[in-house]
């Protein structure tokens, strides 16, 4: 066993040497970073697959500026500190543009590295307002609408369509879920006329949510709004139904998609959620879904089409700028309009997407269907 450590040391050193990047190539290196392992993996994998298929399509047409695209993949497990390491790795490996990350916290942490390396980054899923509103991320673009827009849609719908007077806001204490509910609370307070009877966080992955469900019941909330992901949501929805609490469950894009309806089963019926606009009528959207079905044997995940659009946007900007120069590409980003699976989209001066918004969905017969 004494030699064990020696062997290990040699192995690690040789790995370092082999892992060192190759030099000068005639490809354009695009990196896709996001969470592809752990419990949030489904979100990241769906985006990654979108990028993969977009790269295939672009390469079939000759790549970017006549060069083939080479895809680098990074897994940040949705943690800021890992994201920084991954970002430095991707930059060291010679990435020239970035698609990612998925979790907003990871994106914020990693963008410091990208900004310094003068790389454009397009995210398919990071919806945090700070990314575009703070002005500290000039190299950042996204193909998904921001949390603020989503929160406005949610509050308007609750007030004007459901006509609720009392709402309970429950979140999972995470940056995404809590941030979403705080925006919703601010909107309600500004609008007036809707009383917030409960604002509470629960522990993700807990074995039992009975107490919070009883609390919702006691608060007489007509609508229970949820900021968080699908797994905890389905536990709470089940309990609400079993305990016969008369309240409408309303979530954000964290619970959109088949993941949620499969988990909650019959209890999902009647649940509302906001999610990216249903563009399934778009021919490109349908073609891509078919391609995904053929390649992976299942329907595309939540951020698949957003991932595809990110790659499209970066490629279009490079073509328009005529080079991979940062300033030229950034300027081009504001001018382009691309025919994405989300419809024709462009970007505003903050880097937010124009043309792709959110709509409200309701679970009817076990499937999410657009209602507004």
């Amino acid at each position: 066993m004494k030699s064990f450590f020696k062997v290990l040391a040699v192995a690690v050193l040789s790995m370092i040497v082999f892992a060192a990047p190759g030099f000068a190539s005639d490809t354009v290196k695009v990196a896709s970073a996001g969470v592809i392992s752990g419990d949030l993996a489904p979100y990241g994998i769906s985006a990654l697959r979108g990028v993969e298929i977009a790269v295939e399509d672009l390469n079939a047409k000759g790549g970017i500026l006549g060069k083939k695209i080479e895809l680098l993949v990074g897994d940040d497990v949705c943690k800021p500190e890992v994201a920084v390491n991954i970002a430095t790795k991707l930059v060291s490996d010679g990435a020239q543009m970035i698609v990612g990350h998925v979790c907003s916290g990871a994106t914020i942490a990693a963008n410091k590295i990208y900004k310094d390396a003068n790389l454009l980054i397009a995210s398919p899923a990071s919806t945090n307002d700070d990314l575009t509103f703070s002005g500290e991320h000039p190299n950042f673009f996204r193909t998904i609408a921001n949390d603020g827009a989503q929160a406005i849609l949610m509050t308007d719908f609750v007030k004007n369509e459901i006509k609720a007077k009392k709402v309970a806001l429950i979140h999972d204490k995470g940056d995404y879920g809590k941030g979403q509910m705080e925006l919703v609370r601010n909107n309600f307070e500004k609008m007036g006329g809707v009383e917030i009877v409960l604002f509470e966080g629960v522990t993700t992955g807990a074995v039992d949510y009975t107490a919070i469900v009883q609390k919702i019941k006691r608060s007489d909330a007509e609508v229970t709004m949820w900021g968080g992901y699908h797994s905890d949501a389905s536990k709470i929805v089940q309990l609400l139904k079993k305990k016969r609490v008369d309240t409408t469950f309303f979530g954000a894009d964290g619970i959109i998609g088949d993941n949620f309806t499969n988990l909650a089963g019959k209890y999902a019926e009647g649940v509302y959620a906001t999610g990216p606009n249903d563009t399934s009528g778009n021919p490109l959207y349908q073609a891509l879904s078919a391609k995904h079905q053929k390649k992976y044997g299942e329907d595309p995940g939540t951020f698949f089409h957003n991932g595809y659009a990110c790659m499209q946007a970066l490629a279009a900007a490079a073509e328009k700028a005529g080079s991979l120069d940062y300033d030229a590409m950034r300027a081009a980003m504001f001018e382009i309009t691309i025919d994405s699976p989300l419809g024709p989209i462009g970007f505003d001066e903050k880097g937010d997407v124009v043309g792709a918004g959110f709509s409200v969905y309701k679970v009817i017969d076990g499937k999410y269907q657009q209602v507004n």
Partner: protein
């Protein structure tokens, strides 16, 4: 010093009683429902905590992989139930077989884990065994994740909604009743096993003094294996019932549930079986009331605060034996 402690205790208890009575008068139904919720939650913790406490009692090891055994029990039940369900078997048979397979497989995993990761470390520093347990826990989590799926799987309840109970199901569901009743039964059976059977006596002897019991002709290795098997069986029962309660499982459910159950076991006095159940119930019920009347954000903070307070006044937990230190 002693009088100050007692006076403080009485004062705190008085304040708690006052508020409890006030809330009870304001909204008795809510008070009662929170109690039932806490009882269910406590029973859930108890089913997992029993395994922890038994293993700890006998080899003083925090068995970190215990939560994973619980997860594997639930996973096996899910797989067996869905396969048989697709083959169109009778529901009653499916339920029985799913439970049987879950228990048998959990026991087998518990047994194997002990043989691989803990037995070679019997005479090693205690922390080494703890790290080995952590490694095992990581390994089992990732093994299930890779062999099955990282995603949450819907778990169709194996326990039917009792027809006659339908009018009261919103107060306490059939599954919740089953969990509470099962916990009571399991605790009684374990008590009988420990108190009256041969193996139970051997377990108690081994827990007290391994060398002496070996000298008296007890096969210590077999006794330890038996402890792991029994502990795993209760975890499996817990796993299946909890999966029925929450309706979903994935590879990671063992970790959080295991952690809470471990806290409960320590609270009750680790190594003591009634202590594990009592600690779980105290933890579950007080958490439920805290969420109900205060902030659910700080539920875990509250749980840990209770733990710290109880351990400061009773350093070996509520029912723990206060061992004299050996020199």
């Amino acid at each position: 010093m002693r009088w100050i402690n007692i006076a403080l205790g009485v004062a705190v208890a008085g304040i708690i009683c006052f508020f409890a009575v006030r809330e009870l008068l304001i909204d008795p139904m809510y008070f009662f429902e929170l109690f039932l919720g806490g009882l269910t939650r406590g029973s859930i913790y108890a089913l997992i905590a029993l395994g922890y406490t038994m293993v700890y009692g006998i080899i003083q090891l925090i068995n970190f992989a215990h939560g994973e055994i619980y997860m594997i029990g639930a996973m096996t039940a899910l797989i067996v139930a869905s396969v048989l369900g697709m083959w169109g078997w009778n529901t009653a048979v499916i339920v029985i077989l799913a439970f049987v397979f879950a228990i048998v497989y959990s026991c087998a995993y518990g047994f194997t884990v002990e043989k691989i990761a803990y037995k070679p470390l019997r005479n090693a520093p205690r922390l080494s065994a703890l790290i080995s347990a952590i490694g095992m826990s990581l390994f089992l989590q990732n093994y299930v994740m890779l062999a099955q799926t990282p995603e949450y799987l819907p778990f169709k309840s194996l326990i039917p909604d009792f027809k006659f109970w339908e009018p009261f199901a919103h107060i306490i569901t059939s599954v919740e009743i089953t969990i509470i009743v099962t916990t009571v039964i399991v605790m009684i059976l374990l008590g009988i096993l420990i108190k009256f059977t041969r193996i139970g006596k051997a377990m108690r002897a081994t827990a007290q003094d391994k060398v002496m019991s070996a000298l008296l002709g007890i096969n210590v290795n077999n006794v330890i294996s038996a402890t792991f098997v029994v502990g795993s069986a209760t975890a499996a029962i817990g796993g299946v019932l909890i999966a029925c309660h929450v309706g979903q499982i994935n590879f990671f459910i063992g970790f959080l549930a295991g952690l809470k159950a471990f806290i409960a076991a320590v609270l009750g006095g680790i190594g003591s079986i009634p202590g594990a159940v009592l600690g779980s119930l105290v933890l579950g019920i007080s958490e439920s009331y805290f969420t109900g009347y205060f902030y659910s954000e700080y539920e875990d903070v509250f749980a840990f605060t209770i733990l710290v307070i109880i351990l400061i006044f009773r350093p070996s937990g509520i029912l723990g034996r206060h061992d004299a230190q050996k020199v």
